[in-house]
């Protein structure tokens, strides 16, 4: 039963799906979002927070490009903190606790009010193709929709299996069914499927927690917004709390390891090293006598608490005992038990740089289905896939962000050139141009790109131009005004120069510009010398990055290329020579051999 034709169909209403749908419809494409349930759109399945180290930068980038995430968290956040405040500006990241119910309502509202976007409640079961190209999607109930592009953002739903102790069942998320049919459909289309594992901690009834027994962690006095469109956040802030496990709890867990699926062999997929379950922590770091547990409110009304730090696969009775032994939660009632989940993902080495599969034209994948972890990583991919689906229809060059331009560029490049064996999460250490990829300059890196793509509206564009002019004005003064015979701009380069003292300069105060603008100019001054050096590296990097490797290139036929290099390159199918050079095991000489081969073929044509 054909229910209509669209330009772009997005499967899944998670954080990747909503950014994809938002981008596509705002670019004028007739867009369909298929989700199992309208009320779970943009649901926070795991921690009720947005941002964090490296992730905060990604949210700023999504916002600078015209995405939705930054605006949503600014509108619904209940506690804002700038992390790494004592460290350099390049590694400072915003993080906020969300009211997770308001957060998803905000996003659903935005999508429901968007032009060109239709939301359909249903279970996508099959990707329809013809001659190796996407033609539409069929739902479980037989409903069919036609479209030349489909973006799959299925999260953990593909053949999801949930574990609580020895009990296991098929499911995509708490109280939601898995999607086995879609997984099979992707397999039939020739995609390679892998398996990953993740987990989530128990949620408590906030009314049963004794907050007097635990340490309070307040938000910042002056909350910093995520979106470049917002100057400040004026809502009152809710605190978080911290408690600690102790040896008696560790003994309990160790004695019951035979009931933890992670240790019984019931779970075979790989979990993430950066997100270990509490059982993994007490086994691997047996000498540590306490582990932090953050008690994070999930909503402003303080109805439920998320126990950040004790994700687990133990059965319910062990979870009950553990909570009963934890200071502050001794009498607390668990509302949702912790669970572990295994799910299918598609290793992203199968994707092109625009996030389209090489196997099927018009089929895009974004988010957790590509092996990532985190709402921010998912949202970033969703936005890129949404933009690129529309650009494909219009015959425009794809939006591909470089490693030197954005964390989003690092993310997608890493996914496409690395064999991952755990869910991929962003760290600032993954970005070799970290000093350039800052939270404060995400707009200056990306807003004009967002504008040229068509996602940045006039309001955002004007705000941006205004800010850039302000930064230039401040920089001008910093370069002119001298203190002790030296320009302020030079003083800011000294390793221990306090910016507050510099910004107190009357000529700067007179401008009456937002603090964000003043700080941006100071950061520019501080890093200038190193950024120049980094620019030179980037220029060298760009040379190789600009040499595109055509899709028809058959590495096996390149004479003189080492066998290992042929295998690796054929498997990863790099998009540019630069990408080829980053694949493990590829030597500089291999790259030169390819360079010669390309030139040879070019002159033959």
């Amino acid at each position: 039963m054909n229910m209509g034709a669209f330009d772009c169909i997005v499967i899944g209403g998670g954080h990747a799906g909503v950014e994809a749908a938002w981008a596509a419809c705002r670019l004028g494409a007739r867009t369909l979002l298929i989700t199992m349930r309208r009320d779970t759109i943009a649901k926070m399945s795991c921690n009720p927070a947005i941002g964090g180290l490296a992730k905060g930068q990604i949210v700023r980038e999504i916002d600078a490009l015209g995405g939705l995430m930054g605006l949503a968290i600014d509108a619904t956040g209940i506690q804002f903190r700038l992390l790494n405040r004592s460290k350099g500006p390049a590694v400072q990241s915003p993080r906020a606790q969300a009211d997770k119910y308001k957060y998803k309502d905000y996003i659903r509202n935005a999508l429901e009010n968007a032009d060109n976007l239709t939301i359909h409640e249903g279970v996508a079961a099959d990707i329809l193709t013809s001659d190796g190209a996407v033609t539409g999607v069929a739902c479980l109930d037989g409903t069919q929709f036609a479209a030349p592009t489909v973006i799959v953002t299925a999260g953990t739903f593909l053949r999801g299996v949930m574990h609580v102790g020895p009990r296991q069942w098929a499911g995509g998320r708490l109280d939601e069914p898995a999607s086995n049919e879609l997984s099979d459909s992707l397999r039939r289309l020739g995609l390679t499927i892998g398996r990953l594992k993740t987990g989530t901690p128990p949620r408590l009834d906030a009314a049963t927690v004794n907050f007097d027994e635990v340490e309070v962690q307040p938000g910042d006095d002056e909350p910093m917004p995520f979106s470049f469109l917002n100057e400040r956040i004026d809502r009152p802030q809710t605190p978080c709390w911290i408690t600690w496990t102790h040896p008696a709890i560790h003994d309990l867990l160790r004695e019951n390891l035979h009931r933890a699926p992670m240790y019984t062999g019931q779970i075979t997929a790989t979990g993430a090293r950066y997100c270990p379950s509490i059982e993994t922590k007490v086994v691997r770091f047996a000498d540590k006598d306490r582990h932090q547990v953050f008690l994070e409110p999930e909503d402003e009304a303080l109805s439920t608490i998320y126990c950040n730090g004790i994700s687990t696969s133990f059965p319910e009775d062990i979870q009950d005992q553990m909570i009963a032994m934890l200071p502050g939660t001794r009498r607390a009632r668990i509302i949702h038990y912790a669970y572990a989940i295994e799910y299918d993902y598609c290793p992203a080495v199968q994707l092109q740089a625009n996030l389209e599969t090489r196997a099927v034209a018009g089929l895009f994948l974004a988010g957790q289905v590509n092996g990532t972890s985190g709402y921010e990583e998912a949202g970033a991919q969703g936005l890129v896939a949404g933009v690129n689906a529309v650009r494909k229809i219009g015959g425009a060059e794809p939006l591909v962000l470089g490693r030197d331009q954005a964390y989003i560029g690092v993310l997608i490049d890493d996914l496409r050139t690395r064999q991952i064996d755990e869910p991929y999460r962003m760290f600032t250490s993954r970005a070799e141009y970290r000093l350039s990829l800052r939270s404060d300059n995400a707009d200056r890196r990306l807003t004009d790109i967002g504008r040229s793509v068509g996602l940045v509206d006039d309001t955002r564009w004007q705000t941006y131009l205004h800010k850039v002019a302000g930064v230039e004005q401040v920089s001008g003064i910093l370069k002119q005004v001298r203190r002790d015979g030296k320009p302020l701009w030079q003083l800011l380069k000294q390793p221990d120069c306090p910016t507050d003292g510099i910004l107190a300069e009357p000529a700067i105060q007179m401008l009456n510009l937002p603090n964000e603008v003043l700080q941006a100019a100071c950061v520019d001054a501080k890093y200038e010398g190193y950024l120049v050096r980094q620019q030179q590296q980037i220029a060298g990097f760009r040379n190789l990055e600009n040499i595109k490797l055509p899709a028809w290139l058959d590495y096996r036929t390149i004479s003189h290329l080492r066998y290992e290099a042929k295998e690796k390159l054929a498997a990863f199918q790099p998009h540019t020579l630069g990408q080829a050079s980053r694949i493990g095991g590829i030597t500089p000489a291999d790259v030169t051999v390819i360079q010669i081969h390309l030139k040879k073929n070019h002159s033959l044509k």
Partner: protein, 463 residues
């Protein structure tokens, strides 16, 4: 993976050097080629371009006659500005000239000049195919050489320093990426101290081990001995070709002659220099200069083949010359065995062994007797030297490229220490990464993964 916009330089290839037996050629190509040679080369004539200009190069107080071949791009072999310095000098002098140029250029990789020629449309397809082959071939050699170097003392030291940089980097990165944990990964004081230790260890490498090899990267083997001891003939026999001018008159070899010796498992530069005998009263200035160059070159060699003419009756002069050689690794070679009656040989060999205190390898360049055995002996000793066995194990050998790399790494460490003290960990991390990458070997590594692996295996992280 070569960048194509910068200026590169290298010692001319063996094929080019063959045309003029003992001439050294250093080739520089790229936008800064002329500026780079202008510092070294002086002449009273106007520089001809395209063309040859004679003049002199001065390096470390030494002045040598030289010719500059200059070609402006795009009408040059590489299609870029191209300069060649041709001069006659010992290998170690060539190395000094290179060192001087490398402050303004970067060493060319295998086949890189030809690659540029090809990319700039100066050579055709069939030639380019040959280049690919050369590049692929040298890749194999490089991988093998890297493996060999890995077993060596310098490689060990560098690997250890890199490990320490990575350790420190992991702690700094953990402090930035996991600041929400209840862990203090490293205090600023500890970080400064740790970077300081790495820095002084690098300095020790520079202070303790500077030693130039006769040719970039390859170990050198020198032939030494009295005049007319048959060194040039032996060199030719080992190389399997006629390289130096061989005559029966004494002291026919004035300058250092070189050739590359391909052994089963490794390659080395074989060189033959003027006789080391005492200067004769009739000897001209040139002879004396030649003698000095020979002593310098011999003492810079990894291995010396000390040649003695077996047919002589008295080995006293040879024993005296042997004492001039400071190199620790010497193979005694008896030459011209074909001039002896077979029955006389054992007695002669024993007398020689007595006089020099070592057992000779008996050879004849004419009949090829003992040549293969000598080749095997050279190879065995070189492998022993590079893999760190034997007495030489404690000595770090470091060539110009290593020296440059270690110097740069030391500079990065200096800056990193300043930034760590100012609590700018993110800048310090970038500098430490640069130091780490400078000290890296041939293979690209996934440093991010290495950092994360260290963090996750050492600390309990994550929620």
């Amino acid at each position: 993976m070569y960048e194509t916009g910068d200026t590169i330089c290298a010692v001319g290839s063996a094929a080019a050097a063959q045309a003029a037996a003992c001439e050294s050629i250093i080739r520089v190509s790229g936008p800064g080629a002329f500026a780079a040679v202008a510092d070294l080369f002086s002449t009273e004539r106007p520089i001809r371009c395209p063309g040859v200009t004679t003049g002199a190069i001065a390096v470390d107080g030494l002045t040598l006659d030289a010719a500059l071949y200059a070609f402006a791009g795009p009408r040059s072999y590489t299609g870029e500005d191209l300069a060649e310095l041709h001069f006659f000098a010992a290998g170690c002098v060539v190395e000094r000239v290179m060192a001087n140029l490398l402050s303004r250029t970067r060493p060319a990789g295998p086949g890189e000049f030809t690659l540029r020629a090809y990319l700039n449309g100066r050579i055709d397809l069939s030639q380019a195919e040959a280049v690919a082959q050369v590049v692929a071939g040298s890749n194999m050699v490089q991988v093998a050489a890297a493996g060999k170097l890995l077993a060596g003392k310098l490689a060990q030291t560098i690997a250890d320093l890199r490990r320490r940089i990575l350790d420190l980097l992991s702690l700094l990165e953990a402090g930035m990426d996991f600041s929400g944990e209840d862990i203090i990964f490293v205090t600023p004081q500890e970080a400064v101290a740790s970077a300081g230790h790495i820095r002084s260890a690098l300095q020790q490498v520079l202070d303790g081990g500077i030693r130039y090899e006769a040719m970039i990267d390859l170990p050198s083997v020198g032939l030494a001995g009295a005049s007319n001891a048959g060194k040039s003939s032996l060199l030719n026999a080992l190389l399997g070709q006629h390289r130096s001018i061989v005559s029966d008159e004494r002291a026919t070899t004035r300058d250092v002659l070189t050739g590359m010796l391909e052994l089963q498992q490794c390659r080395c530069i074989l060189f033959d220099c003027a006789g080391l005998g005492p200067p004769e009263s009739s000897a001209g200035l040139l002879d004396e200069l030649g003698r000095q160059a020979a002593v310098e070159a011999i003492n810079a060699a990894e291995l010396v083949l000390f040649c003695v003419d077996l047919s002589k009756d008295d080995y006293t002069e040879d024993a005296r010359i042997r004492e001039l050689i400071a190199c620790d690794n010497v193979v005694l070679v008896g030459t011209k065995a074909d001039l002896q009656a077979a029955t006389d040989l054992p007695r002669k060999a024993a007398t020689l062994a007595d006089a020099l205190g070592d057992t000779p390898v008996i050879t004849s360049a004419k009949t090829a007797r003992g040549i293969d055995a000598l080749g095997d002996c050279i190879e065995r000793m070189l492998i022993e030297l590079t893999t760190g066995a034997g007495e030489a194990a404690d000595r770090i050998t470091i060539n110009q490229r290593h020296h440059t790399v270690v110097c740069q790494a030391t500079e990065y460490l200096d800056q990193a220490i300043g930034e760590l003290a100012g609590k700018n960990d993110e800048i310090a991390a970038m500098l430490l990464r640069s130091a780490y990458e400078r000290l890296a070997g041939l293979e690209k590594e996934d440093i991010d993964e290495a950092i994360l692996e260290r963090i996750f295996s050492n600390f309990c992280i994550g929620k």
